[in-house]
């Protein structure tokens, strides 16, 4: 094909789709998908003192907060399988959560007001996470205490497992549950992150 060949001209005319065009088309898709009820999961990332966090929400509420160490791509794959593959990067739905988290990390917020969606949690784990939310800012409790308040004092292991599988850490404050000996114990975001959160809450 030569320079005056119509097919060459046609393909040259359309070859470059610049980033600005794709950004505006994406924004348009986000708006259309949301208004048509197709945006089953919206997500964004936010920077925080404990690393980049992935935030994901269904129309019902915040469904997932993920640490960098979990691999955000892997987390999104799981959301596609467990909730819906109709997933878009769409920050608007997460604006409120992002703002509350920023205030929390600044020491200006003690309670989260965002609506959560615990659809990824079932059975006793759901009970445990419901009770977790009553552990107040700046305080801690043991796994044994948590099992007891959730109504199954013998189920300490199950309570610990509910914490380690908490899909909405920070907002559902599993970092406030520590070992009976006072050590911080494990955390999906790493023991150092858990320590940092407890120090933040103790200082504020």
């Amino acid at each position: 094909m030569n320079a005056t060949d119509p097919v060459s001209i046609l393909f040259a005319t359309i070859a470059d789709i610049d980033d600005a065009t794709m950004t505006s088309l994406h924004a348009r898709l986000e708006v259309n998908a949301d208004s048509d009820g197709l945006l089953d999961v919206a997500y964004r990332t936010v920077d925080s003192p404990i690393g980049t966090l992935l935030l994901a929400a269904t129309p019902e509420g915040l469904v997932r907060v993920a640490f960098e160490s979990e691999g955000h791509d892997v987390v999104l794959e799981h959301l596609a399988a467990d909730v819906s593959p109709r997933i878009l990067r769409s920050p608007k739905r997460l604006d409120g959560t992002a703002r509350e988290l920023e205030e929390y990390f600044d020491g200006r917020r003690r309670e989260f007001e965002v609506t959560i969606d615990l659809r990824l949690v079932h059975g006793f784990r759901h009970e445990v996470l419901d009770h977790l939310r009553s552990i107040r800012y700046g305080t801690t409790a043991s796994y044994a205490t948590l099992a007891a308040v959730a109504g199954r004092p013998a189920a300490v292991r199950a309570a610990a497992s509910a914490c380690s599988h908490n899909p909405i850490p920070l907002i559902v404050p599993c970092h406030r549950i520590i070992r009976s000996d006072g050590s911080v114990g494990q955390y999906l975001g790493g023991a150092a992150a858990k320590r940092a959160l407890l120090d933040l809450e103790a200082a504020a």
């Binding site: 060949d5 259309n32 596609a80």
Partner: protein, 170 residues
């Protein structure tokens, strides 16, 4: 096994689908066709088989949306239809209606048969193999290859009447 997050589909295939829309439509209409393509795709996405050729699937939707746009704009702006309009314009200028020199590129693309358009944009714009194009159009791979070649030949004839005829056959 489930399909990956739709965001990946938009990132991987969005620019290609936009090129397809631009090949078929003028710039303003191309963005509308892209938007309609991706909203339709997102609606159907959970039922897409994980082993599908996603690019071919999207380009097929885009082509259909582009045809809808062409039909609705020719209905509103030109009830006599695209090809007739081209012929009239050429005749008014005293030219051979089969090779109007003032025909712009999109008019030429829109004058192709739907199969030719589909084969040309799938193959030349989106890089979809002929076997897959044939499957999407419900024809053989050889027929898809022929539609693409005929489409390119027609484009050359319509868009630049002075093109070397030797080139058309290659």
């Amino acid at each position: 096994m489930t399909v990956p997050p739709f965001e990946l589909v938009v990132n991987h295939h969005g620019p290609t689908v936009m090129r397809v829309c631009r090949a078929l439509l003028r710039p303003a209409d191309a963005e509308d066709a892209w938007a309609e393509t991706f909203i339709a795709a997102m609606r159907a996405y959970p039922t897409l088989r994980p082993d599908s050729n996603v690019r071919g699937w999207l380009v097929t939707i885009a082509h259909r949306k582009a045809l809808d746009q062409i039909r609705s704009s020719s209905r509103s702006a030109n009830p006599s239809g695209e090809i007739e309009r081209l012929a009239d314009r050429a005749a008014a200028a005293g030219e051979d209606p089969m090779s109007p020199p003032d025909t712009d590129l999109w008019d030429a693309v829109q004058s192709l048969t739907p199969h030719q358009q589909a084969a040309v944009v799938h193959h030349h714009v989106a890089g979809v193999p002929f076997a897959e194009i044939g499957r999407l159009l419900g024809i053989s791979a050889a027929a898809a290859r022929r539609s693409s070649a005929d489409g390119v030949a027609n484009l050359r004839r319509r868009y630049s009447p002075n093109a070397d005829p030797q080139e058309v056959t290659t």
